[in-house]
């Protein structure tokens, strides 16, 4: 049994690592206090809130835990220690995450101590399936490994645009991979899920955009692997990323989850863009696609998906200032085509085999792409990059060729062989890979596909600001795809990690 009030309080402080600083003596505390212990009564009203969410700390001392307490057993062995921030002004307990301690592996603690670490938002420990999922950011990774420390600096916008578009984006995949044949797929660490991936992606998008999180008025999270049947991922994202203005314990933001198989996120691009174009008080909106893509084990019905599923999240921030890409137009189409589904209460989806191809994927992508190009009067040669939904390598290549695109137009977006099918994040990750390299004034056509079924096509035109914003993000798609810190796991480990805590 979990205690809802305790979960609310612990995650309110722990997800963001909230603390405070005494404005009189400078003493800092983890947790929020009304007064400073040293200064006493005179410090009432003189405590400034701080948080360590975007900060980096130093691992002071550490040891190995190989007999964890009962709720931590699914983590196996892990390194536990003490992290200090601000030159030792605040010290917090720490679990090193994203690190699998192999049987018999010797740890040289002195080689870990003194190194910089970054707080990561993760699941706290295991609970019953019916309980609230506990989260925390007292999980850390080394700043000089896969996930670098990145400052979040709010940048004052200096250019307005007539049409809405993309202000910034972020892609997050874990450092774990499984490689089988010519496809490599990202695998979550055991304390990750669609919720943590959504928060990570959103965090990276804020860093890239330089947008003040308080000015984000709406957040959509598209996912088909929310560990809750009822309870939005978006509310967690809003709380942890402090979207909208915080006022008496609530965030001034509208947050909602969307579901339409793999197009749950792309479907909302137009809604997010329209919102910031509407003469209301929403300056920025955020769309996240995040999935710990599910698949039954290989020998079970639906198990074919197990060869393709990945893990990750991708977030886009829409607005009308400092755009990196303007939206030129869109088209969506829908039909009631049951090619892939998951019934409520079932852990894994089923799919329609060959039926998922021609009458499903190809039909909708073809229609959406052609219709939008027709409406905008575009030929394939007018388009620099083509991005399609990527359930496997063959499908997006076949449709790209059929629509008349050449390799140089569609290959840059093809990321499925690096990360697997990240479901709601699939075509958004492809788009991010293109935005990572596109020059100003280039046209991108993205066409998503969601089973059930439908497609969203968008035409985007990059701006000159795409270049200046590029160096704000240390984790572009290529960095995550080709990284010396990637850790490859075998099939059994992959299934265990995917199942999570």
């Amino acid at each position: 049994m979990s205690s809802e009030p305790i979960e609310r309080r612990v995650s309110y402080l722990g997800d963001r690592l909230k603390g405070c600083r005494c404005l009189i003596c400078g003493k800092e505390y983890f947790e929020i206090r009304d007064y400073c212990g040293s200064c006493g009564r005179k410090s009432f009203g003189k405590m400034a809130n701080i948080d360590l969410f975007y900060d980096k700390g130093v691992l002071e001392v550490c040891t190995l835990v190989n007999e964890p307490t009962n709720k931590f057993t699914k983590l196996g062995s892990y390194v536990y220690g003490i992290v200090s921030f601000h030159n030792g002004k605040i010290r917090v307990p720490c679990r090193l995450t994203d690190r699998m301690i192999r049987q018999g592996e010797e740890i040289d603690f002195s080689a870990f101590e003194g190194r910089e670490v970054v707080p990561r938002f993760r699941r706290r420990y295991s609970v019953d399936r019916s309980d609230i999922i506990p989260t925390i950011s007292l999980a850390f990774t080394f700043a000089d490994e896969y996930y670098p420390h990145q400052e979040y600096a709010v940048v004052k916008p200096n250019k307005d645009y007539d049409a809405p578009g993309i202000v910034g984006y972020g892609v997050y995949t874990s450092k774990f991979r499984i490689k089988e044949g010519n496809i490599t797929r990202s695998v979550p660490f055991v304390d990750e899920d669609a919720i943590t991936a959504a928060v990570e992606a959103g965090k990276l998008a804020l860093i890239h955009s330089g947008v003040d999180s308080e000015l984000v008025g709406k957040v959509y999270v598209g996912s088909e692997s929310n560990p809750y049947a009822v309870k939005p991922i978006a509310s967690k994202v809003a709380q942890v990323l402090k979207l909208g203005e915080e006022d008496e314990g609530v965030q001034g933001v509208d947050a909602v989850d969307t579901e339409f198989a793999c197009k749950a996120a792309t479907s909302m691009f137009k809604d997010a863009a329209s919102l910031v174009n509407y003469p209301a008080n929403i300056q920025y909106s955020m769309v996240i696609g995040a999935d710990n893509s599910q698949a039954a084990p290989r020998d079970c019905p639906g198990g074919e998906l197990d060869l393709f599923v990945g893990f990750g999240g991708c977030a886009y921030i829409f607005g009308k200032t400092d755009l990196i890409a303007e939206i030129e137009g869109w088209y969506s189409c829908t039909s009631d085509t049951p090619d892939f589904w998951r019934r409520d209460g079932e852990p894994f989806p089923m799919h329609g085999g060959r039926f998922t191809g021609d009458p499903a994927y190809f039909k909708h992508i073809r229609k959406a792409a052609k219709k939008l190009m027709e409406r905008l009067g575009l030929k394939p040669s007018d388009i620099n990059y083509f991005v399609a939904h990527q359930p496997n390598v063959q499908f997006p290549v076949r449709i790209a060729k059929e629509l008349g695109f050449k390799e140089e137009q569609y290959l840059p977006s093809l990321q499925v062989a690096n990360f697997g099918n990240t479901y709601s994040g699939s075509s958004p990750v492809g788009l991010a890979a293109v935005l990572d390299i596109a020059k100003p004034e280039e046209r991108i056509l993205i066409v998503s596909y969601g089973s059930g079924a439908g497609s969203d096509a968008y035409s985007l035109i990059t701006t000159s600001q795409i270049i200046e914003k590029r160096n704000r993000q240390k984790m572009p798609v290529a960095y995550q795809a080709q990284n010396p810190f990637l850790e490859y796991v075998d099939y059994t480990t992959y299934r265990r990690l995917k199942l999570g805590m």
């Binding site: 550490c62 009962n70 003490i82």
Partner: protein, 400 residues
Amino acid sequence: MPNRPAIVAVGRTKFGEHYEKEPEKLIEEAWLRASEDAGIERKDLEACYLSDYFLPITNKLGLEEGFLSELTELHVPMEVTRSFSSALSNACNAIQAGRYNIVLVGGIEKMTDRWDKIRDDLMLLEDPWSYYAGCTPEANHELMLRAYIRKYGVKGEDLEKLDIALAQVSVKNHLHATKNEYAQYQRKITVEQVLNARKEARKPLGLYDFAPISDGASALILTSDDVAKKFTEKPVHVLGFASATDYLTFPARQDLTRFTVSEIAMKNALKRAGINLWEIQVLEVYDQSTVMEMISLEDLGFCKRGGAWKSIYQSCQDYRGYYEIDGRRLFVNLNGGLKADGNPLGATGGAQIFEVVKQLKGEAGERQVMIDGTPKYGCVLELEGFGTKGYVYILGGTSS
């Protein structure tokens, strides 16, 4: 200290796994031994102070006072605290204030009744954030050792010696326990066993560095100075006692290489007892881990900061029953310490007091220390949690 309380009798059970016994059987056993010792009837008791940490959790006993009332058929005031030392300090205060003349202090714990969850229960003694981050009952001991090594720059051959010194703490305590019929482990171990267990665990500390999970009970009868002589020829007096408190959150403490509580409590206890540090000859420290014994030697002032391991190492090269520190002898954890005597939390402090009382009275049998006769002064350090609370008792025998 005016109106010194006197310990007129002590009793305890063997520590270990008492699967077959209900908790009340254990406290009964300890109380009966103490009362027989002094010829006290339960009707003589004017109040009872009981200590336990986990009976509400391990045995679903929430209102322990009522359970003690049923057991003794007494309706006198009773109070329950966590550690034996906190119960004893309440009892001492009451005796000193002149409120009572004869009280019972008892401690009990039944940890093996929940062996599969007891390590989770132990996390109640740490701060919640550490628990949320994955802390274990052992982790902070290891972090303290890491911090110690880093602070004093111990490396190379010295680091090897420090590691061995800590192993020797455990070996020494096991050796002492072979003469203690109440001890949980009455067998010798070797330095190699301690080192191998660490190697197996791939951690700074291993199985043999930590006190075990135990069941057990301990009891004593505390009286005012005036009535003590009615019950015993040789009362042991509480000459001075003090306690101190520190943050629950270990990472938030200023210095990770010391227990401030021990330092403060010792200073105040010595002052109240009116004796000098080195008049203390027998010492029971709270060795929940070998690191704790080492650190405590520094906290209490017997060893220089950063230097305790050297004294331990040198004394244990050819161990003669005591630590030799700057040419002076200190007999430490003669009952085997928490490591070998056992650590049933609520009863542990009682076993520490038991040992010092027996030593001061010259009733410690095979373990008896003789320094120009029985020792005059003994000292007990008990901690709650990972140095969150510390209690120091300075006891004096009849010759004191």
